[in-house]
Symmetry: C2
Subunit: 151 residues, 2 copies
């Protein structure tokens, strides 16, 4: 139940992204029971390839905690992290990662590969499928809307 409550917060951020025309992905970083970092996809708005939800949330968490090691944190994200974001999670030493929907094309936490099991110096614990249907439906609805608006 607790994990689902944090994933709900990430989902709210994903919905905010969708409202702004961004692929709806949201993320929160949590220490104990406090959210210390929030992020959503804003690649189009910021015209920046780095502007994924996880990067924004990790950046905010590092600022909040005053250090680059987030070794007491948990990360919740609505979509399976891509290689950049999985790598950022490794670099920040985040020990626990929870994600919602799987990403068969770009997922680096079990879909295309699992970057956490490739021999790098940090191996986060990984749980996928938290509120999976809600996270996936938000993405599916967004892309359906995009296709309609292109017709």
């Amino acid at each position: 139940m607790q994990h689902e409550a944090y994933m709900m917060e990430a989902l709210e951020l994903a919905k905010e992204a969708a409202m702004e025309g961004e692929v709806p992905v949201g993320c929160v970083v949590v220490v104990g029971d406090a959210v210390v970092g929030r992020g959503r996809n804003r690649r189009e708005e910021s015209k920046n390839a780095l502007a994924h939800a996880e990067v924004e949330a990790i950046d905010e968490a590092c600022r909040a905690l005053g250090g680059w090691r987030l070794s007491g944190a948990r990360l919740y994200v609505t979509l399976e992290p891509c290689p950049m974001c999985a790598g950022a999670i490794i670099n920040a030493r985040i020990p626990k990662v929870y994600f919602g929907a799987r990403d068969p094309k770009a997922g680096a936490c079990g879909s295309v590969l699992n970057l956490f099991e490739e021999g790098f110096n940090h191996r986060p614990e990984l749980v996928g499928g938290i509120l999976e249907a809600e996270c996936a439906d938000l993405l599916t609805g967004f892309f359906r809307g995009l296709r309609k608006s292109e017709n």
Copy 2:
């Protein structure tokens, strides 16, 4: 020769990092013959796990070019990119990557794995070993200095 000239610029940025007590890694992003992004490692200064040389250089290049697709760019970095940075290169659609020294522990461009050959939707061309000795010596000297100062 041309590639070595850009790697020299990246090496200058790496030396700047070393002067500030950061692991010496530098990076430039180039379009045609113009450097459009520069970055160096500043993880300790910024207390941020994301503050790698490549991330800073890609961020600057996206701002300079006004878009997240760097599909006409080349990236030069003194050390083999980690998974986060290799993933950022994929996300920014950078087609050509040149690196100096190899990173046997964290390299995601051939050492631990090659992220560009794992089936993701963008496969940059990759050349390692540009000014390899200079890039590696800078790192070796830095860590030797660190060990001395710890004794």
